[in-house]
């Protein structure tokens, strides 16, 4: 065990899986950097340094810098997965999915079904999402509901360094296509993380707080917000349950319902656009299956239905915050 950042936990998972399985290759734009230059090789290690150092261990044959060509990157990764490699492709920002969605939507996610259960496509697509960096409308989106909507691809949204490592190793070993989503505000968040490799199974949400008065459900970055609000409520004499979904597809429906039924009061915190997002989806599930246990309307804390603004005060108003979650909780407590 040692204290590691979310960034380092991801890096370590990649290193360990590359060591364990020579079929694991990493590819993407500037995942090493410096290709073809007279300067430093491994100059970037990814735009925020997450893949730094892989090149020194595994060389350019397994740490592949690509041109800027997302369709070809995702297509290449999937095709390689279909034929014997176990690639980890990086889509730098999830927003760039606009360029290459077909490779997931119509290709990778559907191979197995369309081919009558014959295809095995063990590809992992790592990508960065979320707001808070003043990166504006084309570099701040969440978009995970779009992937969750598509049958055939698994969607992973780690909320902390421990989960980041275990879920990435699981993603790489999983034989299905996985999109593994890293919130850019979490990279420097630290935690005790085991040095050895371990996996966290998909479809098992994690109770990070147990209480009886109210339930918060979060995913990725919003879990931290939920935890903080839960702790604040505790100091006010109210106990809260917090459920971290960890994977959106597969979704741990049993834990969602259990968490809702425990308290009968639910606040779902989701940073993605409010229409057809995880919050609406979970609300529907809870209403359908656990309606009689509800003691108050379900609260959803999400951004408004607008693109992500650039201006710092607007972005702060836009994003879910502790204050907004706390206020939502107070309305039903």
């Amino acid at each position: 065990m040692s204290v590691k950042s979310y960034r380092d936990a991801i890096n370590e998972a990649l290193l360990q899986e590359m060591k364990k399985d020579e079929n694991v290759v990493v590819m993407g734009e500037d995942v090493a950097g410096g290709a073809g230059t007279n300067g430093e090789q491994d100059a970037w290690g990814g735009v925020l340094g997450v893949t730094k150092g892989l090149l020194g261990h595994y060389g350019r044959e397994r740490v592949i810098d690509t041109p800027i060509t997302e369709t070809a990157i995702l297509g290449m990764a999937s095709g390689a997965a279909l034929t014997g490699l176990r690639p980890v492709a990086e889509l730098m920002f999830v927003d760039f999915m606009g360029v290459c969605f077909d490779q997931i939507l119509n290709q990778t996610a559907k191979f197995r079904y369309m081919f009558g259960g014959k295809a095995v496509t063990p590809v992992t697509i790592r990508t960065m999402y979320g707001g808070g960096l003043r990166a504006a409308s084309q570099h701040s989106q969440c978009l995970y509901p779009m992937f969750t909507h598509v049958p055939g691809i698994k969607v992973v949204v780690p909320s902390c360094a421990y989960d980041a490592k275990g879920l990435l190793i699981q993603s790489i070993r999983d034989d299905d296509p996985v999109i593994y989503m890293e919130h850019k505000n979490l990279y420097d968040v630290t935690q005790e993380v085991p040095d050895e490799s371990y996996t966290i199974p998909f479809g098992e949400a994690n109770f990070t707080r147990e209480g009886k008065d109210i339930t918060f459900i979060g995913m990725g970055q919003t879990v931290g917000i939920c935890n903080k609000v839960a702790d604040k409520l505790k100091s006010e004499g109210k106990s809260a349950t917090v459920l971290d979904l960890r994977t959106l597809s597969p979704l741990d429906e049993d834990s969602v319902l259990e968490a809702a039924e425990e308290t009968g009061k639910v606040v779902i915190v989701d940073e993605s656009y409010p229409r057809c997002n995880m919050a609406t989806d979970l609300s529907a599930l809870i209403c359908q299956e656990s309606f009689s246990s509800l003691k108050a309307p379900i609260k959803m804390v999400t951004p408004p239905h607008t693109p992500v603004p650039f201006s710092p005060p607007l972005e702060d108003l836009y994003l879910p915050s502790e204050e907004k979650v706390y206020n939502a909780a107070k309305e039903i407590l």
Partner: protein
């Protein structure tokens, strides 16, 4: 082509404004006074000016993430741009867009772009409008050497030829896409790609304003006169890193020095016009100090300006709700 004294002054004025603007952003960003991601155009000024000087307000351009130079060359207001970079309400996009999304449709500036390769397909549409309405306008799409590898660029060049659109594709090749060299990432040649799609394609020394200006005149005149699309492959270099905060470890010290000392389009311009006696050194220095002053005021005003407020949060998504 012989330029008038007035044009020469205009060219240098524009290049100085771009230089001063981005140097100021470099400084402000380093001082932690500016939010977001900014990509600076210092070193590439001759490209924006050499091309945009042939365009009128009805002609359009689509730009890139490295867009400040294109915006200034196309006539966007410098103070409004600076306010945008600070996220202020009176910014050119109300603080909603920031550096990567500067746009002023009234000036024919169809937007910087956060998506690499996002602009050229839009240029096709503008060019289609001009062809359909027989306006005699042209649309210019800028993109980088890295962007040249996006499918959107190939698709756009092909469509432009198929429909014989008044579209000009300008590849600003500064040798790098983030930390990756063009030598590594571009298979074959950018120029040959243009030719393969049937475009009138030229390679241009992008550090020489006159070379850009000449080449641009040729292809823009042709496009206006219904002779179809073209590609300019402009070879240039940028002084700063990919974005502000980049340590530029992929370039050697010697290379950085060479870019600053030998490839500076402003220095090259200055030398040419003074040695040939076209302009006086004092005239040029006046433009330099004017630009510095103008940008200084823009920064001061921007810092003082108000941020947008909660009532601006929900606006601008649709025209009618």
């Amino acid at each position: 082509m012989q330029l008038s004294r007035e044009d020469l002054l205009k060219a240098y004025k524009g290049m100085c404004e771009i230089r001063e603007f981005d140097d100021a952003v470099h400084y402000e960003f380093a001082a932690d006074a500016m939010p977001g991601f900014v990509h600076l155009y210092v070193g590439e000024e001759a490209s924006a000016m050499g091309i945009c000087m042939h365009l009128n307000e009805k002609d359009t351009i689509a730009s890139t993430h490295r867009g400040h130079g294109h915006c200034i060359a196309k006539g966007c207001d410098i103070t409004d741009m600076m306010k945008e970079l600070y996220g202020k309400k009176d910014g050119i996009c109300g603080g909603k867009g920031g550096s990567m999304h500067i746009a002023d449709l009234s000036k024919g500036m169809l937007g910087a772009n956060g998506i690499v390769g996002g602009g050229p397909p839009i240029v096709l549409g503008a060019a289609l409008t001009y062809k359909t309405k027989k306006t005699g306008n042209v649309s210019v799409g800028f993109f980088g050497d890295g962007a040249s590898n996006q499918g959107s660029i190939s698709e756009s060049m092909n469509m432009a030829t198929v429909l014989q659109l008044p579209a000009i594709f300008v590849c600003e090749d500064n040798g790098y896409a983030e930390s990756t060299a063009k030598e590594y990432a571009v298979g074959g040649s950018i120029l040959d790609r243009g030719k393969a799609f049937g475009l009138d394609s030229h390679e241009v020394d992008g550090n020489d304003f006159f070379a850009v200006h000449d080449a641009a005149k040729h292809v823009i005149d042709n496009a206006r006169n219904g002779k179809g699309p073209a590609l300019l492959h402009i070879k240039t270099s940028k002084v700063y890193g990919h974005f502000e905060g980049d340590a530029i470890s992929y370039r050697t010290k010697e290379e950085n020095e060479k870019i600053k000392n030998e490839e500076d389009p402003l220095k090259i311009f200055k030398k040419k016009v003074t040695e040939s006696g076209l302009l006086e050194l004092s005239q040029l220095e006046k433009l330099e100090s004017d630009a510095k002053e103008q940008v200084k005021i823009a920064v001061e005003e921007s810092k003082k300006a108000d941020f947008p407020t909660e009532k601006d949060l929900l606006t601008d998504v649709y025209i009618k709700y």
